[in-house]
């Protein structure tokens, strides 16, 4: 099975994150950048399917030059090769334009299965898998906490608020996964060394036949007007329980009319 895993480089969600003051885009310059955590589960799932069914695993990333670091990190887990879509004109692209570029890149890769994280920790938009499926005319199985592959038949358990849904489709398909699906492996030393030699193909917009005017700020279908930092919450009253903590807690709730 030919599997492509979408990997996005994002600012570390454990550190302070900002939007740029000049153009309102995510500040990737000052931040410590990492693989979007949810994508690591997609990589792990791809490797497990490869171990069971054979085939090839390819990482696909759209992002600036420095996203190459995250691509190497992803390859060190075990995938065979990577494709990096990189072009200065992509800066400022909206979700719709991003899906157009990734769909064009997927068009060159002949994937049976496209795996990705259910959302990115920076945008948390969750729309990309369905946008891609819509553009490619393939099935989307999204929000999987379990994926079963049986020949060309795919079955997922899709997490819902009430429980889960069992959803099936035939390949080719896009499948997005939550972090409940597996436990990603750590790259081995051997894996890290091997990753340095794995092929990474770079593709520009012209390679993909996408016009610069369709992406970036020129092609964006939404725009940030302004942004501001929310004033940080300040702690209120803090008491130490000396036998009356529960009562005092309820007294506070009563003054706030919750009890």
């Amino acid at each position: 099975m030919n599997i492509v895993v979408l990997v996005k480089q994002v600012p570390d969600s454990g550190a302070e994150r900002n939007l740029r003051t000049d153009d309102n885009t995510v500040d990737r310059g000052s931040a410590s950048n990492v693989i979007n955590e949810m994508d690591e589960y997609a990589i792990e799932e791809a490797l497990r399917i490869q171990e069971a069914h054979g085939g090839e695993v390819t990482i696909l990333t759209m992002g600036p030059d420095k996203a190459a670091e995250s691509i190497r990190k992803a390859l060190s887990m075990g995938p065979d090769k990577a494709v990096h879509v990189v072009d200065d004109a992509l800066h400022g692209s909206c979700a719709l334009a991003t899906s157009k570029v990734l769909a064009a890149a997927l068009g060159t890769l002949n994937a049976d299965l496209v795996l990705c994280g259910a959302e990115s920790t920076d945008g948390r938009v969750q729309v990309l898998p369905h946008m891609l499926a819509e553009r490619l005319g393939v099935a989307a199985l999204t929000g999987a906490r379990k994926l079963t592959v049986d020949g060309s038949a795919l079955t997922i358990e899709r997490q819902t608020d009430e429980g889960y849904e069992v959803v099936t489709a035939q390949t080719p398909a896009v499948v997005s996964v939550w972090d409940t699906i597996n436990e990603p492996r750590y790259p081995s030393f051997k894996g890290i060394m091997a990753a340095k030699k794995k092929p990474v193909q770079t593709l520009s917009l012209s390679d993909l036949g996408v016009a610069p005017s369709e992406v970036g700020f020129d092609g964006a279908t939404s725009a940030v007007v302004e942004h501001s930092k929310r004033p940080p919450r300040s702690g209120g009253q803090k008491i130490t329980d000396e036998g009356e903590g529960g009562v005092k807690l309820v007294e506070f709730l009563a003054t706030e009319k919750f009890v």
């Binding site: 969600s13 454990g14 994150r17 900002n18 939007l19 309102n24 955590e37 949810m38 979700a95 719709l96 920790t121 920076d122 948390r124 938009v125 969750q126 729309v127 369905h130 946008m131 499926a133 819509e134 005319g137 099935a139 989307a140 999204t142 906490r145 079955t155 997490q159 819902t160 608020d161 009430e162 429980g163 849904e165 069992v166 959803v167 099936t168 489709a169 398909a173 972090d179 964006a220 279908t221 939404s222 725009a223 940030v224 007007v225 302004e226 942004h227 930092k229 929310r230 919450r233 702690g235 009253q237 803090k238 008491i239 329980d241 903590g245 529960g246 009562v247 309820v250 506070f252 009890v259």
Partner: protein
């Protein structure tokens, strides 16, 4: 005034609260028109509630195809409706399914999309809170109509009673939208508690709760306060509580009137999902836990003493 389409979120024959919020918001932007998409017989039981909150019209799209496949058929029907009615805006819930329908609709209409919106002004400027609640963004759709998903608990629903006219949609779903078939739906126990993202009170437990069995304490306090139960990632990863109740960066984002954190240290992972809550209360034995930096009221102490005492006190006052 042009119609504002509100895509109805419903479950078990009832309208979800986020829909009432969207209808309230839609009244500021135009004439609210609710769009019900589901299997045969879905729309009728929802009609009165939608009317009560100001829907002037209910578009009823009912077919087994809408129920039997994942989101794509709903997006197809909605795209047709947008093309034929040219609404002033389209609002969906910022839930997994709402966002997914919106994503497909954006591609079909080549229309911009804004997600996780907490406010939308009549001039089309939307407010979003990003980066774990640390940054407020004002944004607008620059191609097409305002297509936005609204985060639950963003505003207070207000009734505006009327009687919605029913318009039945012709549902024809192309085979290309029937690629992902829903073969089964399983309900996992959640009892009578309100839905996590819509609840006005959320009581969450963390690593400090210590075991699945001890989560009964968290549930008891939640029930006394009429709230939902949440859990930190540490608690769900340890198997104390099911994953769908996780609050945080990799789980649900909640914004209730009251958030009670029990045995939760308040790592950024968790704060990302709850720090826009109106009032935050915390119980933790570690006086240095970062959760106290957010808490309006914090108790440093053993939750196994503080929580049962609080529960007893609430019972006394009832």
């Amino acid at each position: 005034m042009a119609e504002v389409l509100v895509v109805v979120e419903h479950s078990g024959g009832e309208v979800k609260k986020v829909t009432l919020e969207m209808l309230t918001l839609a009244r500021e932007l135009g004439t609210p028109a609710a769009v019900v998409l589901g299997g045969p017989g879905t729309a009728a039981p929802l009609h009165d509630k939608l009317s009560e909150y100001g829907a002037a019209k209910v578009y009823a799209g009912e077919s087994d195809d809408l129920d039997g496949y994942l989101v794509a058929p709903k997006a197809s029907v909605l795209a047709e409706l947008v093309r034929s009615t040219s609404p002033a805006a389209v609002l969906l819930g910022s839930t997994q399914e709402g966002k997914e329908i919106a994503g497909r609709l954006a591609v079909k209409l080549d229309n911009g999309l804004l997600t996780d919106v907490v406010g939308l002004s009549p001039d089309g400027v939307a407010t979003q809170v990003v980066f774990a609640g640390s940054t407020i963004v004002k944004s607008r759709v620059t191609r097409g109509l305002p297509l936005v998903t609204v985060r639950p608990n963003s505003l207070t629903p207000a009734p505006a009673p009327g009687t919605a006219e029913v318009s039945t949609l012709d549902v024809t779903v192309d085979e290309s939208a029937k690629l992902a078939r829903v073969v089964d739906r399983k309900v996992e126990a959640k009892g009578a508690r309100p839905e996590l993202t819509e609840a006005s009170v959320v009581v969450s437990g963390g690593r400090g709760v210590g075991s699945a069995d001890n989560f009964k304490l968290v549930e008891e306090l939640a029930d006394l306060l009429g709230g939902a139960v949440g859990a930190s990632r540490a608690a769900t990863d340890s198997g104390f509580y099911p994953h769908q109740f996780q609050v945080g960066q990799t789980g649900k984002t909640v914004s209730p009137q009251l958030y009670v954190a029990l045995g939760i240290s308040g790592a950024i992972q968790h704060r990302a999902g709850m720090q826009t809550s109106k009032t935050i209360v915390a119980v933790n034995k570690d006086a240095e836990a970062p959760i106290f930096e957010l808490a309006d009221f914090g108790v440093v102490g053993d939750l196994f003493k503080v929580v049962p005492q609080a529960a007893e006190e609430i019972r006394k006052r009832k």
